[in-house]
């Protein structure tokens, strides 16, 4: 069973009931995630973040998740009781959020939060939890982890905060990591550093990574496989190395609208949206 995908999703829908009827944020997505780096790209509102949250069952009412299949290691996530889900969430599957400023608890020290995160999932002593927290901080390239453990979130920089978040998510040793725009709140030079850390950890530990981003170029450089989302559906999927051969006008539009230092143009191309993209059936991204 080693080749079985970590995550197997078929016909996933995320719906919200609103005053004006039901709004479909994700419309019939199918994909699998193995021990690989899968990039999910799209604009705001394309449903990429909702896909990430649905996989962790983090969508609260009035939002609804429906799927023909949503299996993690053969276990049906949708049917699980909330108690079991809490064990999986953070334990086997973790999520790195966009902005460390809003995701770390401002009134707890870094150390307290890290230790709590680990002890929520494993019956380890406080002393052992502390030792592992130190080791993980070291893994995410934080100098002087002893000192950092005693700091409050407002005392650390954005890049450091994001690395602390990563450390926290990795402590219980998850198999699947969902990273939702993990670097968009960071400076360019820090971005690369944080990506390198995620990359190294994913490789070393053999995890599956779902990397959600609006930056197609970044994803192309960083992931193995890409799925491009538009209006809640997958419009195209390809190997990251073959992005240059992408066909779909939406993908091409995204690629061409980015100003590029090396290839200056007088005017940037503006995406002309075709209503047909919205109605075209979702492409399957099953490996």
């Amino acid at each position: 069973m080693t080749d079985a995908p970590l995550l197997d999703v078929e016909n996933l829908w995320v719906r919200f009931r609103t005053r004006t009827g039901v709004f479909d944020a994700v419309r019939g997505l199918s994909f699998t995630l193995g021990r690989e780096r899968l990039g999910i790209v799209g604009e705001s509102g394309s449903g990429k973040s909702m896909t990430g949250r649905a996989v962790l069952r983090l969508i609260r009412p009035p939002g609804m998740i429906e799927a023909d299949r949503l299996d993690m290691h053969g276990e049906d996530i949708l049917g699980l009781p909330e108690k079991r889900m809490r064990k999986l969430r953070g334990g086997r599957i973790s999520m790195i959020m966009q902005d460390p400023k809003f995701s770390l608890n401002p009134v707890m020290t870094v150390g307290q939060q890290l230790i709590e995160a680990l002890r929520a999932h494993e019956p380890v002593s406080r002393r052992e939890a502390r030792a592992r927290a130190l080791a993980t901080l070291d893994e995410v390239a934080i100098r002087d982890p002893e000192r950092v453990l005693g700091l409050y979130p407002h005392e650390v920089s954005g890049g450091m905060g994001q690395r602390i978040m990563i450390a926290m998510m990795l402590l219980p040793d998850p198999e699947i990591l969902v990273a939702d725009e993990p670097t968009s709140a960071l400076d360019v030079s820090v971005q690369l550093q944080v990506l390198d850390i995620i990359d190294k950890l994913v490789r070393d530990r053999g995890m599956g990574l779902m990397f959600i981003s609006h930056d197609l170029n970044l994803v192309a450089k960083f992931c193995d496989r890409i799925m491009i989302m538009y209006a809640g559906r997958i419009v195209e999927t390809c190997k990251a190395s073959e992005l240059a051969r992408a066909q779909h006008p939406y993908t091409l539009g995204l690629l061409n609208s980015v100003p590029d230092l090396e290839h200056p143009r007088d005017r940037l191309e503006v995406l002309q949206r075709d209503p047909a993209w919205r109605d075209a059936p979702s492409v399957s991204a099953r490996a």
């Binding site: 030079s189 690629l255 609208s257 090396e262």
Partner: protein, 250 residues
């Protein structure tokens, strides 16, 4: 004649032991009609320079001349007619309970624009929105449309200099392209001078003629966009920045 000239600018926050020097001894010159970029990491002082020019930071020393007017601690009304600023976050910079009409007419009243009605229509056309958007509230607009309103507000007083603080960083790449094209058109049509802050060298390289690289509150170097494209930076820091932002795949 230069549109904007800064000599030995220092900006600090706090006093005594708490004092942080955000900008240290920066001098630069922006020509009339030029588009000038300021780049650097967070905390390098690039936005602080913009805020000092706009009069949003009281603690500064040095000499600043904008459109022939030497700036003191207080700015004249004429100064604000000539210099306007567009902020980073269109979600935060528009009043949520005021319509586009109210936002723009208030700006025009403050600057004593006559014939507000006719000018309103022209402003909305200029930023590519059209009269249909006049009575909408911010929550009825997308991020890109909001930023267009913010740009229209800045244009209301018919300024000569626009200060742009990361005008597209809160937007999707596809919408960013529209706003960048709009800014390029407006500069050409109205003969504007831009000073733009961004951390994205691709954007700065697209819109600007010259860029200044900042680090730790100091100016590392000023280079032309051609030199930047050829990756011919003098300082190792600029070289490092250039190399980290070359991630294009084509």
């Amino acid at each position: 004649m230069s549109a904007l000239s800064i000599e030995h600018l220092n900006v600090w926050f706090g006093t005594g032991a708490e004092r942080t020097d955000a900008v240290r001894d920066v001098s630069l010159d922006v020509g009339l009609g030029e588009s000038f970029g300021l780049v650097g990491e967070s905390g390098s002082g690039k936005s602080t320079i913009l805020r000092a020019i706009a009069g949003l930071v009281p603690t500064w020393s040095g000499r600043m001349t904008v459109a022939g007017e030497t700036l003191g601690k207080k700015r004249s009304k004429a100064f604000y007619r000539k210099v306007q600023m567009v902020f980073q976050d269109p979600y935060g910079s528009l009043h949520p309970r005021q319509t586009v009409d109210r936002v723009l007419s208030e700006a025009m009243q403050l600057h004593g624009v006559r014939d507000i009605d006719a000018r309103m229509g022209r402003l909305l056309d200029d930023v590519g929105l059209g009269a249909g958007f006049r009575f909408r509230f911010p929550h009825q607009l997308s991020g890109g449309q909001r930023q267009r309103v913010a740009i229209a507000r800045a244009l209301a007083s018919e300024p000569q200099v626009l200060l742009l603080d990361e005008p597209t960083s809160a937007l999707d790449v596809s919408v960013q392209a529209e706003i960048l094209n709009l800014l390029a058109d407006l500069r050409r049509d109205h003969g504007l001078t831009y000073v733009m802050v961004s951390h994205d060298l691709g954007i700065v390289g697209h819109l600007c003629d010259r860029i200044a690289v900042m680090q730790d509150g100091q100016l590392v170097e000023v280079l032309g966009v051609e030199a930047m494209r050829r990756l011919e930076a003098q300082s190792p820091y600029t070289q490092h920045l250039l190399e980290s932002s070359i991630h294009a795949i084509r």
